[in-house]
Symmetry: D2
Subunit: 392 residues, 4 copies
């Protein structure tokens, strides 16, 4: 059995190193790792998990907790790191001043304060484990309102400048429903000379304007994205399927890029183009749709087989889900995450349970084949998504 080792870098000729991140005095960058064939594990979802812990307000979803309750944000960063994440994303979702003002949830804390605190927290934790820090840029209300390239790019420019004041390692353009806006973001961020990853929150049907995933990928790579893929909105296997369509689009166009997926951590078999936001259970009754760790094993394997090498999660991915990615791909990566010291692979530690029928579950076949019951006989298994989106 693979034993947990704290850290090892497969793109480094040196022996495994507790710091892992030093290579000629510099941390290995995201592209060096991906170019070397490493599997990079992303982190999980922050806003939904911090909402359940009591620090984020659903409906607003603003990240003022970075200032108000730094210990809560730091703890979740630590848990993802411990679960095996190679990248820590700054907790800066929706922290532009206009968004904060619009939501009305926070009046005494500025976006600059949040950004500063969030970068510090991410950097501090990332340093403990040799992880990289990624700064995220998301879709803007401005795009839908004005569709002005100048105005939207100015917002991205301001966000970029914020991040460049702190020592982040690369950018993630994420949670974009329109590839046009994502392309603008990539164009701005590439001016920083930092690597840029771009993930859309779209369905296999394409973006909100009907641009198919393959064409989206082509546009993003032409704009300068080093890594392209999918995040949020739809379940993991759908996410992988959509990234495959991106890959095919790139291949047809003779382009190359690294592939990335950070999908939703909920089962959404009936979703339309709007993703889980269109489900009746969003956002306060999604429990029954949650992934088990075994669902995540399947997802990680499928993502790997599809050629994706940056594999993480978005809303619904808790620390143990990230650990499941790292465990499923531990042979490929050559090590287990620190958090595996508290986890028997495939339920192995159940052999210490007092009940014989629970001990009998200490094996892969059991968990791989289990069809978990909902315990909710008066509930259906599929819902009718809101039809606010046009549907094919």
């Amino acid at each position: 059995m693979i034993k947990p080792k704290i850290f090892k870098c497969i793109s480094c000729s040196d022996a495994p190193d507790l710091n892992r991140v030093l290579w000629g005095g510099k941390r290995h960058g995201i592209l060096e790792r991906l170019n070397a064939g490493e599997v990079v594990v992303g982190d999980g979802g922050y806003v939904m998990q911090l909402e359940r812990r009591g620090y984020v307000k659903a409906g607003h979803w603003t990240p003022e907790a970075a200032v108000e309750h730094p210990e809560a944000v730091r703890q979740l960063h630590k848990e993802f790191l411990r679960a095996g994440a190679d990248v820590i994303q700054t907790f800066t979702f929706y922290c532009s001043d206009d968004k904060l003002e619009l939501s009305g949830n926070v009046t005494t804390i500025t976006g600059a304060q949040i950004n500063d605190a969030a970068c510090n927290l991410a950097g501090e934790v990332a340093n403990e484990g040799g992880a990289l820090v990624a700064g995220g840029v998301s879709q803007t209300p401005c795009y839908l309102k004005t569709n002005s390239e100048t105005e939207v790019k100015a917002i991205f420019k301001k966000q970029m400048d914020y991040f460049l004041q702190k020592d982040i390692d690369f950018f993630i353009v994420e949670f974009f429903e329109h590839v046009e806006e994502a392309v603008w973001a990539v164009e701005v961020l590439k001016s920083s000379r930092k690597p840029v990853a771009a993930t859309l929150c779209i369905a296999p049907q394409g973006d909100m304007n009907g641009v198919p995933p393959g064409e989206c990928a082509v546009r993003l790579v032409k704009a300068g994205a080093d890594i392209v893929g999918i995040n949020c909105h739809l379940d993991p296997l759908t996410g992988v399927r959509t990234v495959k369509m991106m890959k095919e689009g790139l291949e047809k166009a003779g382009l190359r890029a690294h592939l990335m997926v950070q999908p939703l951590g909920f089962h959404t078999p009936e979703c339309n183009i709007g993703g889980y936001v269109s489900l009746p259970e969003f956002p306060f009754a999604l429990e029954t749709r949650a992934m088990t760790r075994w669902d995540v094993h399947k997802y990680a394997r499928e993502a790997y087989k599809a050629g994706i090498r940056y594999i993480g999660g978005c809303c619904g991915f808790e620390p143990y889900h990230i650990r499941a990615i790292a465990e499923e791909l531990s042979a490929e990566r050559g090590f287990l995450p620190p958090g595996s010291e508290k986890h028997g692979l495939w339920g192995a530690a159940l052999e210490f349970h007092t009940k014989p029928w629970v001990r009998a579950r200490a094996r892969r076949e059991y968990w791989e084949n289990l069809l978990p019951a909902s315990g909710r006989p008066k509930c259906p298994s599929m819902a009718t998504p809101a039809d606010g989106y046009q549907n094919d």
Copy 2:
């Protein structure tokens, strides 16, 4: 609308006080609060939540994280406090030396060290919010092996002495499947002159020897328990139903005690006497059975209507579930928990969402009547429990 106030003690004639806990220089004890008619909110489940966060090993379930990762335990205590918990239980489940040795998971940390660290952590956090600290004593392997009253009582005595070295407020005898053993625990702990609460993890069918809940309650109160009830193993509404049976038993016997319930946070409609341990999904595929916050509202209301005044949760209760108890009973308690500053009651904050159909969910009727879909059309809604237990 009820506004969140940080703290208020309804059993105190003084004005609401940020410290809330001082009454003639002393904290209000658990019995003073219950005698005054207060609703006491318990905390949630530690081991399952810390397993998902990466700090507890399923199968062993031992609490060495109190020593190894105190920041993780402290953070979860804080979250429960913030969610409205009036009691913080020490994270000392399964920490007797023999259990630690038996499980083989921890070799360099003693039970004494864990107990010491856990009491410090619970006390530290409880003090931040005027909560009480409860020390827990659970069923022993020794009981099943020897059935020796002398030996089992010696174990409880040793645990009690540990706790008495620290300044805990009261004891909780919990997670007992045999009322006989629970009675022995109560008899020992009453010698401390601290209040004793006693909760069994039994089904409406009775304890493992078939003693019905009503008779169990009578025996526990006769042994000296101040508070009796149910914890873990079965879902909230079944827990409330079983406590009602206890109440009826006490009434028939002309006895009185406060009532308490800290049930499982999962739907278990098909459970037999063994509870959720007998379900195929235990312990790694219980996600689909998780309570929503709205399920918890119903539970808290039913518990209150049944006359139960100490209402908390066990495995599966996360911070937002505890907050739901505190919110459902905020009118009775006169205040909202601190964590409600990040929660619109009944989804109220969704009125700020960008999608019109999500804004339409900012109301109680929507969430109260929603039947959430599992998103798992190839899975059943009920499982077949293991038949290791005799079943009626």
Copy 3:
């Protein structure tokens, strides 16, 4: 493999006989067969099946089709006979003049006409296969309205006299929700000197007055019933369970009687005391709850193991369900029903199918273990019964 033989009587020392029914010039009576240890197969449900075929009006459920469309009634009798039924019940449900008048569905046909036609049809078909003819007497509106023993018994007397004009073999007192009324019916019908079977449509909780099944059985046997049991209202396995409770009641009282079960052909796991009439799907959306033939195999085996020897069905039992009873118990009975010439046991004839994966289903293990999907992902698996009945 057991080959289909048209007829054989195991209580007869003679060789199997195409007529089977002659024994010293007389047909073997129901009690002779049961006393000899024969398994007697009952027929299935008429009103629901004829409703689907277009001859009975739901809501009224009156049997005027015996006069209006005799070919339809005759055909269904034939199908049950061919499926293995040893008893053909007259199609006379609800045919008293007051009921016909009350329902308002039929104005030009009298109860006497229906009864006459129905007895002729049943007798004609029964004679083709050596089956017995049973005349049924059911609960009266009069009982609930007056609770007058005199008036209710007068109704039963009139019905009995009708039947005695035709050559029926025995009586079945069936579909009674109150044992008191069933006892009155038995007392009247015993005066005919014909054998009397009495089946209640009650749940394990007891009759509508709360009389437990065991006590019900005792009262019926003391009143003169030769055979007691359960019919309609709840699913087969619940029916068997309730008959077991009757059996235990009789044993405790030192009484003996033959046991009979003719349950509902629908799954009703959530039913309260009111049975399937309390389900939201009654009567026009019960399709999804229908028994498969394999469900019936399990039922027939359980019924046999419980010591029940008169095993049939009620609403929802179609001809192929009755055949499944006869096939499951063909070894015990020594022969297969005529209808088995068109049925490979346990799917054996599928080995002739063109698709290889269908051919692979030509075996018992496949069908015994299949968990059939509903094909209705937006529907729940259990409903909430109407609460018109008091519920425990």
Copy 4:
């Protein structure tokens, strides 16, 4: 409310006529009716229903019952007629001599005998109600084995000649998985100068060679089909969707034909290109997937809205399902079917029920919105189809 009238022909200028079928001494043909804008109601499924009644052997599915048990076949014809069917199909599925021989189920009856008997039965019943008689021709084993146009056409020619000896009204080419073979059948049958309807049992993905539905329709019409559409294999709404694709294909090609649909009577949301034959429940555990009459109302309305005017059913459609088509479209047709004398529209007759909560169901809204529970909490709602077919 529309009152049931026995017969009325809307394409006839004469007053409604009990015979309905005479127009200048001749029955109105299928094309005259469709050309006049009539809605033509087809009949339902024979083999599955007669299997359940005990007269057809699953796996073989041969129609020897027309000779062996004519009363059973006649009765089912009558039930469909009574339910509103305007067309009676001869019970001649799989009755070519080679198929009978191949299946090995029948050795003493020839295909010629069956065909003769079946045409007589269908004609006899059709005459009772002014219905048309349709003779069906289905896919041949020969096509898959030889792909020889000459050989396959010879088989169709022989079948045609059989039918032309009897007085059938038109031909239905049905249950073809390859449009090429169906085209051959149409070409042969058109030589008879009788109208020819052609229905494929294909999914929206196209026929087994991947020819899309629109292209299939074009080829069939070019070959001479007067009516095109879909039968069997997939559920009603999928059937309607596929016919719509056919319609679009014809419109693009500038062709015209009448549209027809006779779909499967089971819910098959997860089906692949193979249809319900690929489901694990085929053929002996399909009960839970059965249509309710209310499902059929929705289907009939959707079919009508899609411009389809020949609307019937295939396997799984029982007489009450056909009646539901005729009732849903009674306003358009101007009359109710005879069978409606035993059916309150939308449950109207339930107002005579004894239980108040059942009486409350005597209304359209109740049944239209009901989500029927399966009563099978241990079963899933969707299955995994066999992967014997290539899948997109």
